[in-house]
Amino acid sequence: MSVEITSPAFKQNVAHALDDVNLQTALAKVGPGFISRRLGAADKMPEFEALRDSARDIKNHTLAHLDLYMERFEAKVKEMGGHVHFAVDAAEARDIVTDICRRLGAKTVTKGKTMISEEIGLNDHLAARGIEPVETDLGEYLIQIRGEAPSHIIAPAIHLTKDQVEADFRRVHADLPPERDLSEPTSLLAEARGKLRQRFLAADVGVTGANFLVAETGTSIIVTNEGNGDLTQTLPKAHVVLASIEKLVPTLEDVSQLLRVLARSATGQEMSVYTTFSTGPRRAGDADGPGEYHVVILDNGRSGMLAGQLREMLRCIRCGACMNHCPVYHAIGGHAYGWVYPGPMGAVLTPSLIGIEKGANLPNASTFCGRCEEVCPVRIPLPKLMRHWREKEFERHLTPAPQRYGLGVWGFFARRGWLYRPATRLAMGALALLGRTRGRFSSLPLAGGWTKYRDFPAPEGDTFQAQWRKRKERETLARAEAAAARGDAA
């Protein structure tokens, strides 16, 4: 709901997340479900890998000519009777939306799922101005009534258990009869639908995100599984689309390729249930549609990425596959990352948008297992981009002092083999002696991070290199002796 940044407190967030029983119960289902569904969808499609290449190329091409496609998009939207607004930062974007709402005398705003709304903190901003935002995506609705932020970019309430949702409905929906059975997901859905139906009809403005903006037609596209987006954008007086600059693609043909990798990567579906194309406001003779159509295109630091080494991140199509496959995300969930975008894509994007000082932990909190890159539909080299941030931190001396110092000492020795080899022999000899009875250590000075949770094996004894040389010397000696013996015999 807000743009409060807790990323600097990442380690405390992690501690809370690991102790949160409900969260851990919910997270246990995340990995296996998403992973097997994506794999199933990819396996059924022989050309899936080729499509990923194509998706990457489409996005690369668009980014290389973003200015041209942006102009084309703007011209087409205008031609179709809509409006395009460019927002440099979050404050500008919020003001643009607020102005539209005020001009239309809006009292309530329905909202389809939009991460840009989270990025700019739109809900709090509207609420403070007497305009009530109503989230209509089920997951977003759940976290709105809880006063929480999304913990996943496509499954915002994935951190909740069914029991928590039932309890929240009973707390918030005053007219809900206590005897009503809410034990099944479908009954929870029906309850939410019933509540939201009235809100759709009463809304003055509908705000949605966009999965794609199509330059050739001036179309914005959303994919959903609930159909809430359609009601959000067709019923009110105005439809406001919130999108960031990298949502642009040249043609509908390009979109059809990207859609084929999007749903498969995200949820393992061939297509999402609803794919909705919006081009301009209602025309004379249209059965329905909004009276006004606005697209707010947010930069918020992205054009800086376009020119730098993080450009590849702008290919992201927000499928969530990286977090669905991330062992760190599986362990701690999305809120621990402390801002809007969690998981590997957040670890790269967040420092770009809020600054590396505040986001310093995020690119470090990765094992670099590479699974995110392995599944990314547009082949973003996420570990490499996280490493880029680590390099920036190192250059700017933001790396924590103990780590920097430890690395410095190790580097000093590693660069001087003549010191490294005797030093490691000495150290390993001593450790081996200390650990010879048990074969391992339960605690070790300077290695508390390791031994708090696991044992550390004692070294076998002398180093491999030293033992190898001794063995080679013995072999050389033996050969010389054998040769000498043969010489004697001759």
């Binding site: 760190v328 580097g411 390993m428 000899g429 010879r436 491999f464």
Partner: protein, 267 residues
């Protein structure tokens, strides 16, 4: 003059292999180095161990490019005279093969040399199977084992089927797959000490999967991951013993497992 390319050396003569033993094997578990040397010799290679320190991965992944570049140069100078460079680790071999070129981008004095060097760097087990054509090993190991796919070897070098193919030829050994064998164990190099709680949560799940197999032995191709998993299993009191896959393939799986004392109590 540059050393002969792998294809030239394949034509019959004994290839000279520089064994990159890795810091962890060098310091903590030299028996893995000897197992690797034995497997390479059995595969018809002449093995040498030039003086070495580290591939530079800890510096690289900590953002210290200057140190990683210096160590990369050191490794290249020490090893480029060999026909092949082989490491009993997908992580270190992957660092060299997949990432060294990034450290020399834009440096014409080095780029070609680095590319030629990286072309002959391999992880041990995939080298045996893919390059040397080893189809079976002469080793015995009684019991059920489970195998963890270490991330770098799996995703940077495609190490997955090779260790399983060779393990299938070990007398007395049966392999039972664990759930999520290709999910990270939570080691992550410096990650495990930078974020110990997260690392612990990840290795805890891994240990659950290992224990659930009922296997007596855990095998993997990287000592870092093995130490992480073995340390967690031991801390929990699990009876599963952990070894580097090379030890078993070389028929040297009868010594103390990782974190176990030598029988005589002698170091």
């Amino acid at each position: 003059m540059h050393p002969a390319s792998p294809t030239e050396t394949d034509a019959g003569k004994t290839p000279r292999v520089g064994l990159f033993c890795t810091c962890l094997v060098d310091t903590l578990r030299p028996s893995v180095g000897f197992a690797a040397a034995k497997l390479l010799e059995e595969a018809g290679c002449e093995v040498d161990v030039p003086r070495q320190t580290c591939c530079g991965q800890p510096a690289f992944n900590s953002g210290d490019r200057a140190t990683s570049r210096a160590l990369a140069e050191q490794v290249i100078v020490a090893f480029e005279g060999y026909d092949y460079v082989v490491a009993p680790s997908g992580s270190c071999a992957g660092m060299i093969k997949a990432h060294y070129p990034e450290l020399f981008v834009g440096d014409p004095d080095w780029m070609g040399r680095v590319d030629r060097f990286c072309a002959k760097v391999f992880e041990l087990v995939s080298f045996l199977v893919d390059v040397r054509g080893v189809a079976r090993v002469a080793a015995a190991y009684e019991g059920t084992v489970t195998y963890h796919d270490s991330c770098s070897g799996l995703r940077e070098l495609g190490v997955k089927r090779q260790p399983r193919a060779l393990l299938a030829t070990v007398d007395g050994l049966s392999l039972v797959e664990m759930g999520e064998a290709d999910t990270c164990c939570g080691f992550g190099g410096t990650f495990c000490v930078k974020y110990p709680q997260v690392s612990d949560a990840i290795v805890g799940k891994k240990a659950d999967h290992i224990d659930a197999t009922g296997a007596g032995t855990l095998l993997a191709g990287d000592l870092g991951c093995l130490m992480n998993m073995a340390g967690k299993l031991q801390r929990r009191g699990s009876p599963v013993r952990a070894r580097h896959v090379a030890e078993v393939l070389a028929g040297m799986g009868d010594g103390p497992a990782i974190g176990e004392p030598a029988p005589s109590g002698k170091a």
